[in-house]
């Protein structure tokens, strides 16, 4: 049993990293918005999904043009990433403007309900756009970066099996890391980042320090959503097939990741995302082995939700967060 688990370990780690990187970047969006507004932006998962669709649409469009095939794929990817990120960033700003800003002083329950509403609307709008243009809402983009690479783990020790992955895995990982590092830099080293942290800490005092609170919040939404959209593109590249309902459950998982790492904490979200991806992949590969076939991979989501519940009960501030006392 242990042997079998070890055999598949390298491959599980690689697949878990790919999934974890996606969770991590999406989790950043949750954590940023939560940090600044104390609001769970339920629609964030849908922004991720919209990004995946916009990206796939661009890929299909660009690949349809003959001359693009002579351009290196990586350049196409970067262009698509940037354009999609800008579009979804604007979408996120728009959502904040329409659905959250008017409710900033309403009871906490109300913005949560608009968030659910917005996420339903986005799902359905994307569905009928996809269905109108291609007849089916399950969309498959062109396959990119499909070169197979193999790492010979078996040469390290004969316990391990070899692990293989596509180039797209590297792209996802590298892009995600770049996104996370630049975000970390932005938050901690730039003027706008400082403003964001100030608003998160105390909105009123920040406004007294001549920080434009509304603008700062808008920017937070722009960045969070742009990251979500960009991750959507990465997801489309990695998995190829998307549908309008991928955002909801993935969004939930990313939120779990954010809570796991400590909500409001940027580095925590990254850690939580990677950790959750690895755990989930490990669970779906090994649960039936561990339990002798009683519980199979179908309990993977139960596993993820149980993590959330356990963390919230025993360490509500998360792995990297600081405990806070409740203000009256």
């Amino acid at each position: 049993m242990l042997l079998e688990m070890l055999q598949s370990l390298p491959q599980v780690l690689i697949d878990g990293l790919a999934l974890g990187a996606v969770y991590a970047v999406v989790a950043l969006g949750y954590t940023m918005v939560y940090g600044i507004l104390q609001l769970i932006n339920f629609a964030h998962g849908e922004i991720f999904m919209t990004g995946a669709f916009i990206g796939t649409a661009f890929f299909i469009l660009l690949m349809g043009m003959g001359w693009v095939s002579s351009v290196p794929q990586i350049v196409v990817l970067i262009v698509v990433l940037v354009v999609t990120a800008c579009l979804t960033g604007l979408l996120g700003m728009g959502i904040e403007r329409v659905a959250y800003r008017p409710l900033r002083n309403a009871p906490r329950l109300i913005p949560l309900i608009t968030a659910i509403g917005i996420s339903f609307i986005l799902q359905d709008v994307i569905r009928f756009i996809a269905e109108l243009s291609s007849g089916n809402y399950i969309v498959t983009g062109p396959s990119l970066f499909t070169n197979q690479l193999t790492i010979n783990f078996s040469s390290i020790s004969s316990i391990f099996n070899d692990a293989s992955f596509k180039t797209s895995f590297l792209i996802v990982l590298v892009t995600a890391v770049i996104l996370m590092i630049s975000l970390d830099y932005f938050i901690n080293r730039t003027k706008w980042g400082t403003a964001m942290r100030a608003v998160a800490l105390d909105r009123e005092t920040a406004s007294l320090m001549s920080i434009n609170v509304n603008k700062t919040i808008s920017i937070t939404f722009f960045i969070g959503s742009a990251l979500g959209g960009a991750t959507g593109v990465l997801f489309a590249v990695q998995y190829g097939t998307i549908d309008p309902f991928i955002g909801f459950i993935l969004g939930m998982k990313a939120f779990i990741a954010a809570v796991l790492g400590g909500i409001g904490n940027i580095r925590g979200a990254m850690l939580g995302g990677i950790l959750l991806g690895l755990l989930e992949m490990f669970a779906s590969a090994n649960l039936s082995l561990l339990t002798g076939g009683v519980f199979g991979a179908e309990y993977k989501d139960v596993f993820a939700f149980s993590i959330l519940i356990l963390v919230l009960i025993f360490k509500p501030e998360g792995l990297l967060g600081k405990p806070t006392a409740e203000k009256v």
Binding site: S8, D15, T241, M281, A297
Partner: protein, 396 residues
């Protein structure tokens, strides 16, 4: 005063909703007013949701047959009408529609459903009203095993499809170690369990039996299990949207053993999603190749001409289902001296259909409503094009 305003507002909104609904009911009201010489056949298939393409193709096939037969029934003195309902693959919707269908005095039979999960509760309602149901596509054993007198289907059962697949996998493909994945839906579990039982009986070893979650895109965890178990065949119980991704991700990981599945994978979407990876994939299907027979080819051409769409695998089943129903109604009318028979009589007539020759199928219902002549077809995909190549067929 403020209250008054809101009352007016509310009332007017209720009214406008009602008006909208009335538009539809009015058009129906006129039709049904034209007397007892109207015979209505309902279709109830998913026209929205994941199976919408299939549901729509069944409906169009049924519509085609109905329009072809309209002349003939006019000579008998009856007007045929089609009423299509959308069950949205949702059992609640199905039951609610079934109550509308059952209560309508001029609806004599239903073409539907596609999903077993909807067919089972809805047929309990049809049974109460004696409305004959003939399903073009439900394969779960429970549908007919409840021995309802109104429930029939023209396609094969899961416990025929599973063994047919297992037989081919073991005898022709020489599989000894089989890994089974299923999607944890009623359909997927049913067919995977039937396959498992048959494969074990035939002496193959089941090295793994795993469930996945519908709607996900990353199945690498389960595929890693496949990697460690090194089976020589993977069987997937589920539908094309997950199957396509599993095939693709398995091939990406270098698993090149044959992958086999049931009729849920019989859709052009499978090839769209999996692309070239679809090579070396086998599916058993209750749906035959429409172009295999002369009448089938004619149907495909007519369908294309009429609706300007390519016929899907299940279009011809919608067509033949309607054929069976109309054939039975015609018999019932003739037995009843040209007068319209009761719903019970129609249901009996449907059950007693023998050797009805449709465009593709030959239908004889047994005592629980299964088609004794239903066949299981086996297709192989050796290139990225749909449909696959017919490899063989198995009678019951």
């Amino acid at each position: 005063m403020r209250l008054k305003k809101s009352v007016v507002l509310l009332l007017s909104s209720v009214l406008s909703i009602g008006m909208l609904a009335a538009c539809s009911s009015k058009s129906k009201g006129n039709e049904s007013a034209s007397g007892s010489n109207v015979i209505k056949i309902a279709t109830q298939t998913p026209l929205s949701g994941g199976s919408a393409i299939i549901g729509e193709s069944i409906r169009l096939g049924a519509q085609m047959k109905l329009e072809e037969q309209a002349e003939k029934f006019k000579e008998l003195g009856y007007t045929l009408q089609l009423e299509s309902y959308d069950d949205q693959s949702d059992p609640k919707k199905g039951v609610s529609n079934a109550n509308i269908i059952g209560a309508d005095k001029s609806i004599y039979a239903v073409v539907g459903h596609y999903n077993s999960g909807v067919a089972i509760p809805s047929s309990e309602v049809y049974e109460k009203y004696n409305v004959a149901m003939v399903s073009p596509g439900t394969t779960a054993v429970t549908v007919t095993d409840r021995k309802l007198k109104t429930v029939n289907r023209i396609v094969g059962r899961d416990d025929a499809q599973g063994p047919a697949g297992a037989k081919y996998a073991i005898e022709t493909l020489g599989a000894k170690k089989i890994f089974i994945i299923q999607d944890k839906t009623a359909y997927g579990s049913g067919i995977a369990d039937a396959f498992k039982a048959a494969a074990e009986e035939a002496g193959a070893e089941i090295v793994g039996y795993e469930g996945i979650t519908v709607g996900e895109k990353d199945f690498n965890g389960v595929i890693n299990q496949v990697l460690t178990k090194k089976p020589d065949l993977i069987y997937f119980g589920g539908i094309y949207s997950e199957a396509g991704i599993i095939i693709k991700q398995a091939r990406d990981k270098g698993i090149d053993v044959p992958i086999m599945g049931g009729d849920g994978m019989d859709a052009s979407g499978l090839v769209d999603i999996a692309g070239d990876a679809v090579k070396n994939t086998y599916i058993t299907s209750v749906a035959g190749d429409s172009t295999a027979t002369e009448s089938g080819r004619k149907f495909v051409a007519d369908y294309k001409a009429k609706f300007n769409k390519d016929a899907e695998a299940f279009s011809v089943y919608g067509y033949d289902t309607m054929g069976v129903i109309l054939h039975a109604i015609e018999n019932a009318i003739n037995d009843n001296n040209g007068k319209i028979p009761s719903k019970e009589k129609v249901a009996e007539a449907v059950r007693s259909v023998k050797e009805y020759e449709g465009a593709l199928t030959n239908v004889t219902f047994d005592e629980i409503g299964d088609n004794t002549n239903a066949k299981i077809y086996l297709y192989k995909f050796s290139e990225a094009s749909y449909p696959g190549v017919l490899e063989g067929e198995v009678g019951k």
